[in-house]
Amino acid sequence: MKVNEFTRRLINYMQMSMCKTMKQLPFSGSHWLEQFMMSTAQYVLDERLDELHFDSKKPSEACRTFLNLMDEEGFLQARDYRLEDSGESLLVQVERDNCVYRDYCMRAPKEGLPLYCARLSSFQAVLRHVLDKDFSALMETDERGICRGMLFPATRPKEEIVTREGHILKVAGRRAILLPQETYASLFMSIKEHAPHALKHVLYDAGFRSALNLARKTRILYSDPEECLQLLLEVIKNDGLGNVELVSFNQSEGRARIICYDSFQVSVANEYGSLYRSPQVTCDLLRGIFAAYFSVLLDQEIICEEMSCQSVKGNYCEFLTMPLPNNLWKEEPRGGKD
């Protein structure tokens, strides 16, 4: 098969439209896009398995075998790709002009679409097939149009991935429910009615407990606290709790400043009424989550204050974290399952 101009355009349009659709998915869009692209390569692998001889377990050689097959089919020229092993990782280099996905690659950022290198995704599929291991991909293109990619053993916990198995909804492989704003509001309005004194504590503690497990798991995978924190903050966004941004983080002092736009709790307060008698900061769930994140990251009890809130005049919600002095740090048996 030779790729003519029309076929090439068609392939690129398909890439564009997949990205456009995935962007609209409420959950895990990037994960499904990656799966989509890997799955395409997997079909090729399954179909041509007899011809493919993966004699080596070296990532570069396994991917070279795959490239050669694609070359034989006239889909690309294998010699355009430079592959190099670097420890367990694979480094890939190609001139963008020589890549069949060039149009998509150039148009996607202009249209505000996520960019996923289809070639790296096909290599991810190859490596999973040959090494039985998941790899993550990174790609950047310099101003001369040289694409440099890296595939490295995946470490990221897939906490945000939502799946449905029949009538069972799962997040990260564990059963989950979708909680509409109304249900959430009803739950807390009910606590307000029956145990108003406990309301703030329930929200803070619920946030704290629910975040501990994820923070602990993520901390094991990421040695750099800041990198780990960025990933955890991304989870908050993905969960729909608000658009959070880390403004500053002083590790040695245990101090951080985080701002949040469009907090879910502010939205609930605006729509269903405040949980409190007087106008006041309301994002106690987020406060608890941040306290848990930083307590795990810094291995000491960290508390968090909401200094201003969008529900009371603020343009955003602002959170400050700080350590609880050692003499007041009591080990409490809280937190979810390890």
Partner: protein, 239 residues
Amino acid sequence: MPRAYFGVEGLDRNLEKGLMYGSQIMVEGESGIGKTVLAGEFIKEGLRCGDTCIYVACDEPPLAMREHLLSFKVGTAAYEEAGRLIFVDAYEEGETEEEYALADLRNLDKYFALETEILRGCHGRRIRLVVDSLSTLFTSIDTADILDFHRTRIKRLRKSGILAMDIFVSGVLDTKLMTISGHLYNFILKMNFSGSRYNPMRMMQIGKVKSQQFVSSRHAFTISPVYGILVSAEMGVNE
């Protein structure tokens, strides 16, 4: 102008319209009953509502209130740095590290000047002021001077829209002085132990002095290390 609350459910439920900024509350109670805990709740509520809270520590160093708030996981440092929580040391006389301190604990003029200076620095903000306890400052002062100070100060606080809580330890000041002082406040909150010696109960009464009578509602309460003051249902009206 929004209304304020104590931050104690059960107590706040009785204040349908809340407290107006510019109101003064007299809290009178026995030692160990929970006056400082109530002050802590009042400050916590203020901080959540965006108020600037000033705490004048007369009976213990300011550190005691800091630690009390921290034990409820209130990050005092964040509010102090933002200038929204101000501690005044009126306890240690000269040996303090606090920015604001009262050098002479027996001089009401100096106290008045210090309070004026701090309030001026917070001009334009919604302020809660707690003096814990004002009775300690009055211990060695002449009754006439106390009343004079009281009238001038409360008039100034009311005019400036300051929500103030003045704490008095029962038995420290003369009953007559307490009764006269009570008339100057918008609300009076009395806290005392009741029940038997072996099974004491904490009680609080909140009300106002109307036509020489203290009209109040009475509540039993407990102190929880997690929730602070927990007020049970109203136990009737006392006159």
